[in-house]
């Protein structure tokens, strides 16, 4: 068992926590963020609102536990996250709006950094901090899970405790 992921560092964010973050960040960018960043009414605010809406939109289409229409594979979602983060960071410099002041490019770059950090900590398998060696478990297992679950009949006699009047009666019998 290794403590770190194959990337060489811990990636504790599983697909559920990643999804929860997606929706929260998406909603925040569309609603409160421009006001909090004091860029309301500017081109930067519009760009960030669009980024938030797009993010929430493809999150809803992702095949992870919090997705609604599970059309986009989770790994593809992560790739879109990365491309989107880089595109957001580049936008002020492509449009030239960075010349109008720090508030026209710092939010983009900060959000991009947040997104990339979150990606670095997200496990691409979606299992988060999963670190067992399933093959080793299968080799060491002295039971056969498939047989235990799928074969054979009931392990309990219906009504057996009712006939005896329950557990207490069985104890005193």
């Amino acid at each position: 068992m290794t403590e770190n992921s194959s990337a060489g560092w811990p990636r504790p964010i599983d697909s559920i926590l990643h999804g929860a973050t997606d929706y929260t960040v998406g909603a925040t960018l569309v609603t409160m963020f421009p006001r909090l960043a004091r860029i309301e009414g500017t081109r930067a605010a519009r760009q960030i609102r669009i980024a938030g809406a797009v993010h929430a939109g493809y999150s809803a289409l992702t095949d992870y536990p919090l997705g609604i229409v599970k059309a986009i594979p989770y790994r593809a979602h992560l790739a879109i996250d990365a491309i989107g983060a880089l595109a957001l960071a580049a936008t002020p410099f492509v449009t030239g709006q960075f010349r109008r002041g720090r508030d026209q490019w710092v939010p983009h770059v900060a959000l991009s950094a947040f997104e990339l950090s979150s990606l670095a900590l997200s496990d691409p398998t979606g299992r988060g901090d999963y670190k067992a060696d399933v093959e080793a478990v299968r080799r060491a297992n002295m039971e056969d899970p498939a047989r235990k679950i799928h074969e054979g009949g009931l392990a309990v006699t219906p009504g057996a405790a009712a006939t005896n009047g329950g557990a207490t009666a069985a104890a005193t019998a």
Binding site: M1, T24, V137, V156, T157
Partner: protein
């Protein structure tokens, strides 16, 4: 000796630790032959139960052979084969005399901590944080068993370890959950969670004479075990259709089950994506310790005047508890850590008489050294894992 110790959130490891010693006259030392990973161990593993310390030995489901006894233990002898109940109980306080063993007033040396959390202290529990006494657990080669004149039950026949091991916790816990439902014959019982405790709650409801038992889970293989082995008559996979309350109503002619058992507890998940997102964020940011996804549905689904039986472990505070539904439907809420001592002998009789074979839940039997892999496999539901038994 070797033992499986907690080393931080999501990390356990098998280490060499000092052997246990007799500390009190009423202690015994047990050489462990079988021990299990409990679903509630995952709450420790996932970091939801406070007061764990690095190096704490885990495990509260174990059995083995007595190798040493204190001077005050006259009911056990060296060589006896015993199953040890997870609550540590003195047998003499007011609660123990009333068979409320998991509320023993004397066995938790850190009673002050538990009292701050819960208003009154809990009993001591093997390997279950310093909130419950900081006792070394049973995922080890040996364990010290306090109050050994009260807890351990002798096994004097040739039943296998796997057939009697679960008398230490999950079988009595599941049975108590079903007993709370006051089954007299013919009832419809819904059981949230088809993990090991849920399987025993289902099997117990079947044993007690319930006519219909509906198992609810998100994993098909666990639902299949519930149907094939435990005797569930119907199943609901909430991953396929998250509206469990509506499905239960449809299955019961709009009335709702007579009683509902919550065998999930504090890490329950919702099939509704937005609700699950909110719940997960609140837990991850420690805005609440206990997820209410299963318990809310249990309360909303239960028929008016019915019983909600809670045997899943909760540790602290839950947001949005539907008190209005509980009150206005006149539901009875019954809950508790299982008073295992009360149930061990009667349920042992049922096992001996062949009414139930508790070994049906064991999907993984591993050496103690595989405990870290066992925890991960169980936590992530890999390899159709339902229950892991470790062999020291």
């Amino acid at each position: 000796m070797r033992a499986n110790v907690w080393s931080g959130r999501n990390t356990v490891q098998v280490e060499n630790v000092p052997d246990p010693k007799i500390l009190n006259d009423r202690d015994a030392i047990v050489k462990i032959t079988s021990t299990a990973i409990c679903g509630s161990d995952l709450h420790l593993y996932d970091g939801y139960i406070p007061t764990m310390k690095k190096g704490d030995i885990l495990g509260h489901e174990f059995m083995g052979e007595v190798v040493e006894t204190g001077r005050g233990v006259s009911n056990l002898a060296v060589g006896d084969r015993v199953v040890v109940p997870f609550p540590i109980a003195c047998g003499q306080c007011a609660n123990c005399r009333n068979e409320l063993y998991s509320a023993c007033e004397n066995s938790n040396p850190n009673a002050g901590l538990a009292e701050k959390m819960f208003g009154h202290p809990t009993c001591g529990i093997f390997g279950y944080s310093h909130l419950t006494g900081g006792y070394a657990g049973g995922q080890a080669e040996y364990a010290r068993v306090p109050y050994a004149d009260v807890g351990p039950m002798k096994i004097e026949d040739d039943l296998t370890d796997e057939q009697v091991l679960f008398l230490s916790d999950i079988f009595p816990t599941g049975y108590m959950g079903a007993e709370f439902c006051e089954i007299t014959g013919g009832e419809c019982i819904a059981v949230f969670g088809a993990g090991p405790v849920g399987q025993f709650a289902i099997a117990s409801a079947v044993m007690l004479g319930a006519e219909r038992v509906i198992a609810i889970d998100q994993f098909d293989y666990r639902l299949e075990m519930a149907r094939n082995k435990a005797g569930a008559t119907d199943t609901i996979n909430f991953d396929a259709d998250p509206d469990v309350v509506e499905q239960l109503k449809v299955m019961t002619g709009g009335r709702g089950p007579d009683a509902v058992i919550d065998a999930v507890g504090m890490e329950s998940v919702s099939g509704h994506a937005p609700l699950q997102a909110i719940e997960r964020l609140k837990q991850a940011s420690r805005q609440e310790t206990d997820s209410g996804a299963a318990l809310r549905d249990a309360i909303l689904a239960c028929r008016p005047g019915g019983i909600v039986s809670v045997i899943g472990v909760y540790g602290g505070l839950m947001d949005k508890f539907p008190m209005g539904a509980l009150m206005n439907k006149g539901l009875s809420l019954k809950t508790g850590q299982c008073h295992v001592h009360r149930y061990m002998k009667p349920l042992y009789e049922h096992v001996k008489q062949g009414h139930i074979d508790p070994s049906f839940v064991v999907t993984h039997k591993l050496g103690l050294g595989e405990a870290p892999n066992g925890f991960e496999t169980f936590k992530h539901k890999e390899d159709e894992c339902v229950k892991v038994v470790l062999k020291p």
